[in-house]
């Protein structure tokens, strides 16, 4: 029996932790919270051990684990990590203890089940990010569905059941078609193993896919990912899920679950179906740009603060999709970076909105106003995070959006021009919302006496703010590690697609990375 590798430990440690939690008495809330916090922090420390294992400047998978699992058809327990998945895993393990802390006092019923679900969610999400076998990937993709649905459905707000069912049905609809796609791909290639299929593609040994087949396969995968992202017009589940979910659920949903969609596009759609991806790119980019602008406009007129943040996610994720489908190294890096930045800043925004909700039990902006007077600290943090989210230089949102726009402009100037509107709009809706919530006179009597942030809340917010700042200033720490992998994705597309390489020589030659040096 070989020792389990670090990635296996990362996947299954929270599951063991959840089992341990189940053994505690249900009404012993204090110890349940403490134990889940411990488990999630230990998990975070484990995940930090990954950083030195991923070599700088070299693409390819590290920490590979490869065991036979099912004989017929050949399915392997194949894990591995590269620059792109590395930080997504760390983002997950980072946001989980934050979510535990955020639920410390706001979750008061069925506490044990709540933390069990949160940890099981972590299992599924990490599994998705480190699986290199299509089947295994799909398995974790589905596993994550149930805990999230429970988090929304049990601990959510008024219309939680509607939101939970909508979430499940949307996700299932996408994923079941992806399953058909995965099986079809297996039938054509004889393997579920991602590196193996990629290798075959590059050597030209692979099946000659007709362009129609390739497009259908691309759509089967892309559909599932687009629902998850969510790409306009498949986004309608997101505002419901976000508004109804408890704070921790929203943080995980916005922070990491949405990234599973964009991660899937980078990891599977582009390298496996390059021709189809090229053909679909204008359409996808159009949808992404519509999403950017539409999400921002809807945010502008939202009377509900949490929905505002939810729609801003639609807008921000539109940038990520645009960056991916611009097929430029810089925009690809920007997309990867924006995934992380959005996870932190929008996660923090949801935390702040949740803190307001804990005090006032409403998300209506009209119920707030002048909150800077009773709670100056919370207001300061909110401003800081909002500035980060709208892309102020020196903070994390700027780096991602700038790289995406820079890269996109080099291949498709018009796309970048339209998308840039989103940057302006995001400043509008966030600042305007901030003004209505925190500035002016206190209009509602109850708000006069609201307590400012507690020590626990300040702890959470300081952590988030420090990371935000660090990601804004020290972005090279991240981009050095993601550069090789994102370049590699594009290289793979080129190699399996020689004519396209001639069309865009700039894509291969672009080695300068102005914003990261």
């Amino acid at each position: 029996m070989p020792l389990p590798g670090l990635l296996s430990v990362l996947i299954f440690f929270p599951a063991l932790g959840a089992l341990a939690l189940l053994l505690l008495r249900g009404d012993d809330h204090v110890w349940i919270r403490r134990l889940s916090l411990t488990i999630s922090i230990v998990e975070f420390i484990f995940s930090l051990l990954l950083i030195p294992k991923v070599p700088l400047g070299v693409a390819g998978y590290s920490l590979v684990e490869y065991y036979n699992w099912i004989a017929v058809p050949p399915i392997h327990y194949h894990l591995g990590i590269d620059g792109i998945s590395l930080f997504l895993v760390i983002l997950t393990t980072f946001l989980t203890p934050i979510s535990v802390l955020a639920s410390w006092s706001s979750i008061n019923h069925r506490v044990k089940e709540f933390f069990v679900m949160l940890l099981m969610l972590e299992v599924g999400v990490i599994g998705v990010f480190v699986s290199l076998d299509l089947f295994l990937f799909f398995l974790f993709w589905e596993v994550m569905l149930i805990p999230m649905a429970f988090l929304i459905g049990i601990w959510g707000h008024e219309r939680r059941i509607y939101a939970a069912i909508k979430f499940v049905l949307y996700t299932m609809a996408g994923s079941i078609l992806m399953l058909v796609g995965i099986i079809w791909l297996y039938n054509l290639t004889g393997s579920f193993d991602l590196p193996k299929i990629q290798q075959a593609l590059q050597d030209g040994r692979l099946f000659t896919l007709t362009s129609q087949q390739e497009m259908l396969l691309f759509l089967a995968f892309f559909g599932a990912f687009a629902i998850k992202v969510p790409l306009f017009p498949l986004h309608t589940w997101l505002p419901d899920a976000h508004v109804e979910a408890p704070t921790a659920g929203s943080v995980m949903l916005a922070g990491v679950l949405l990234k599973m969609g964009t991660y899937g596009m980078i990891r599977f759609c582009l390298p496996l179906f390059p021709n189809a991806a090229h053909k679909a790119a204008p359409w996808v980019a159009a949808l992404a740009i519509v999403g950017i602008i539409y999400g921002a406009l809807v945010s502008l007129v939202q009377p509900n603060l949490k929905k505002l943040v939810a729609y801003s996610s639609v807008s921000h994720l539109g940038f990520v999709v645009l960056g991916i489908f611009a097929f430029h190294n810089i925009s690809m890096q920007g997309a990867v970076y924006q995934m992380l930045a959005h996870g932190i800043s929008t996660g923090a925004l949801f935390l702040l909105v949740g803190m307001l909700y804990d005090r006032r039990h409403t998300f209506e902006i009209t119920q707030f106003g002048g909150l800077a007077t009773p709670m100056p600290k919370l207001a300061a943090f909110f401003l800081f995070i909002a500035l980060a989210s709208m892309g102020l230089p020196m903070l994390n949102g700027f780096v991602g959006e700038f790289l995406i726009l820079l890269g996109t402009f080099q291949t498709h100037p018009s796309w970048a021009s339209w998308a840039a509107l989103g940057v302006i709009l995001s400043a509008c809706y966030l600042l305007w919302a901030y003004q209505r919530v925190f500035f002016g006179e206190v209009t509602v009597e109850k708000n006069q006496t609201l307590p400012d942030a507690s020590h626990r809340e300040i702890g959470i917010l300081v952590t988030m703010a420090v990371i935000t700042l660090w990601m804004g200033i020290g972005s090279t720490f991240f981009t050095h590690r993601t550069a090789a992998s994102s370049q590699n994705i594009l290289d793979q597309m080129q190699r399996s697609n020689p004519q396209e390489a001639n069309l865009h020589p700039s894509v291969i030659n672009s080695v300068e990375r102005p914003a990261t040096r």
């Binding site: 499940v168 609809a173 079941i176």
Partner: protein, 507 residues
Amino acid sequence: MIPRPEDLIRVLPETIWCIFGVLMMLMQPMTRNRHVLSFFAILGTILGTSASIYAYQTVGTGPAFSQLIQFDAFSIFFHLLIGLVSILVVLAAGPYLERENLESAEFFALVLFATAGMGVLSSAQELLTAFIGLEMSSISSYILAGYRRDTIKSSESAMKYFLLGSFATAFFLYGIALVYGVTGTTNLTQMANADTSGNLIKLGLALILIGLGFKVAAAPFQLWTPDVYEGAPTPVTALFSAGPKAATFALMLRIFATVPAATHFWFWAFWILAALTMFVGNLGALVQTNVKRMLAYSSIAHAGYILVAFAAVTYLQGNSETGGAAAYAAVLFYLLSYALVKLGAFTIIGQLGGAGEKHLSLDDYTGLGRRQPVVAAALSLFLLSLLGLPVTAGFFGKFYVFKAAVNSHLIWLAVLMAVNSIIGAYYYFRLIVVMYMRDTAADTAHDAHSDHVETTLAEAAATGAPLTPFPLPVNIVLFVSAAGTVYFGLFPNQVLHFVLQSNLLGK
């Protein structure tokens, strides 16, 4: 002709089941002690099931009674499956019969006879033998469906099942007659070499298909299913949904395997049957508020999924392509996972139904996650397996069927199946929602820190299903089916290895 000793050993499982069935009848006048009766019934089912392993170890696979019976790996699989079903049904039925104050002995005898019939059906190599097996299981089933004879629904169930069932059997028999008329034999092995051109044999095969389609509840022959499943005592419903279906599918597969020439006639028939059955089952289940009835419709839907694999088999064999073995394996694995799940789910429903099976509506399941967390977790597991989520046996079942369909270039059928899975997701998930997410009176009281938590809890219990703990045999059934569901969801290798062996079906 005097049977050889190995002939007798190869039908030992059926013999034991029948002997114990007769024994139960003989014991009835002598003892009214339910425990004694249950004990012998369980002993009989276990002995009969293990007899198939014993037969395999002593005389090995091969034909028996001059090729009336084919004892091969395929029939061992089905004997074990059907045997397991009957063991679990008998276990779950004990407490049920006691609660409903029904006679134990006759019930167990009928279950044993039905099991024997299904055993014959799954190993028959000759159509008239198959017919005998079908009748044995059907006639016992008719009586079992009406076993709660003082309830109108149960009588309705038996009546409908009997009338429609007799019709179906008649179709089957007429089909056999026509096929015999053309080929001059009822033996499948000899039929393989017969001339299969001509229209009469197509008519005969169509009639056989109608007869068998009725038994597996394929649309448009499914009309009886919801009423019969709803009215029958719940352990019987569990038996119906797992046993006869498996045995009938076994016979269909055997006909395909031995008479390949016949199969391509059936390709479009199966394509249409599969699509229709999936939609009828899932759309029907969508609007049900009675959980038992909902699961009855879901049985129809799952028959549709299995028929997708059948369409794949017929396509492959019709075009003499390879890959048929994988499709067979898909069906067998699916039947195993499905049987475990349905047994578990129906057992829970029967137990929660309470005396007279009164608490069957969705509302009765409100807050079950709080009142009986373990039961609710088990039921959720079964529902997720029916839905086909990973880490359950149902997922692999569905995965292999998808794979068989894609393998046979039936992409559109696979897409239809995917659409149906999503429809299915809605109603399975709705039950989970009701169990866990809907507020009960006790929840609201608890949240409001009311002083009357105790009384509201009692009220909630009074309006919902009773809070009695489950009896031990029921817990064993639940444990076996839940453990099986998870185990085969993680490690399907052994079963796959068994059902993929090259000499699965003896010639």
